[in-house]
Subunit: 331 residues, 2 copies
Amino acid sequence: MQENQKKCMELANRIYDLDAKVYKCVGSALGRTFTGNRESTVQNLCMMMLTKPDGHLLRSELALIGNMARTIPDKEEKRRMLTEYDRILKEIENLPDSFGKVDIVDLARAELNPTARRKLSKNDHLVICISRTQGSAGNDIGFELADELHINYYDVEIFNRVLNRLEAEKGSVTDAETDHITDFDKYRKRSFRLKTWFREFNRYHGLPRQDAIFFNMSDLICNLARTEDCVIMGRCADSILSNNHIPHISLFISAPFSLRVQRIIASKNMEFRQAVRFLKHMDRQHKKYYDFYTDGHWGRPESYDLCINSANYGIRETIDLIERMIDQKRK
Amino acid sequence: MQENQKKCMELANRIYDLDAKVYKCVGSALGRTFTGNRESTVQNLCMMMLTKPDGHLLRSELALIGNMARTIPDKEEKRRMLTEYDRILKEIENLPDSFGKVDIVDLARAELNPTARRKLSKNDHLVICISRTQGSAGNDIGFELADELHINYYDVEIFNRVLNRLEAEKGSVTDAETDHITDFDKYRKRSFRLKTWFREFNRYHGLPRQDAIFFNMSDLICNLARTEDCVIMGRCADSILSNNHIPHISLFISAPFSLRVQRIIASKNMEFRQAVRFLKHMDRQHKKYYDFYTDGHWGRPESYDLCINSANYGIRETIDLIERMIDQKRK
């Protein structure tokens, strides 16, 4: 502790000196960060270094000196000042309780995030899970991204085709945008018929039909992600893969409501009010589906690795951005 | 129209043939996408090409064939199949009403987004606006990012220092985390004193004090962004720069609540309940501030270019990710 205090005192003095020197070089009335005398300033700085909660204040003081130093016209002087600045910064970072010491990281997730670890291991596959709001061009982006990376693309229609065939002999347990997402409602009232109920009970091993579909889909998604590189659209794939400890990247693509409305009008031949109603309905359904089957909240930044506002990029640039982020060159 | 229909017919036939050939190469029972006869399949495909709303179905059919083609063991065959697949895809994309034709883009914003345009012009500066939730390490990330890019870093403390000095003679119109964000409330009741009111009215040109601070800050932010590369933390800088047509990147950094609580406990020496209360309060205040001074919604993906979940990366990897995204090598 004694040692630590001495080190802080030394650093505080160096910071005070650096500020004075930078001020001399810049020569502006705004140049000086510390206007008090040496004694009180050094004491103040020491306090900041020794008490955790004020770490960010110290950082701001330093940043201010650094910002000023970068405006020094004389190149040689500037280099000297910035070298000392960097040295002080490093030494403060090495203090036991300095700022930036406490990382924010969900190790279990970061370990399985290929854009965080930078390198996939030999057995891992590049699996990109894309959630999106209707009308944000998420599907177009996913499809073209897969095409450029030369990896497989899966969306709800494809899953249905595959499941349909795999289960052809057992009786189909499939899903369709119209049948499932659009009308997803766990608790809607249905007319109860014993015969139907009994047939469905057997077919889906006692699970409600929606859940049976979801679990079949989950198995399929896990199998795919374990065996090949691919882009998977929706289906809560990010959450399913996290739960099964399978590496993947999770993206959410959205755009402001008004722009999505415009796009739906143009691409689906809808009228304004119809498009608004359609988008609101789809957003509600997506949210219900995601929130029911996962621990996360649909459309919130905390539920994904990354959220992209496709309207601020356009389709082409969004794809480029994703490629830069996953650090894959087009093959 | 007649011509278009003929083209669609030709493409539909080629798709049918490609599927048959791929099936032959793969040899699996799952290999065939179209199980119907040629006539009805071709008619169906034509319909999809000619009617907008079903564009995504056609894309799924094609993706399924492409996915299968990639599994062909014979390399020469695979190459041939995928070449034909690419050709068909290109030709469909060139049809007047095909999928992927309607872009989603806010041109005004994309034009000012350096990560979308890929290249800054000579007169533009690299300005990175970072909003964040408390406890997500957003400040640490911003500070280190600026340090690595060798550009200036501005946060609320620095703005206050600068404003304080610039306005020293007029009387200070400043802002502080404790004074402003933490207690931001436009409509809180205050004991009304004529003397105070009159003094403040003069000092802030008739504006409420909070607003006067905000407008001074806005001017400063615009001036900075016009003259230098920098990282700006919070202060609705993204919205201010958009309104003034100044190029910038807007990021939102957040992390799941439970992880932010953990980090606050570790970095600020708080107890669990205190940390929870503190974070909830700060989130509310940030939201109030942002939603009041901008058109956007705080913390929603549509309000920023990009949202990053720092817990899925950690501080170090988040910085690397941002650097990859803005395509700047460390100097």
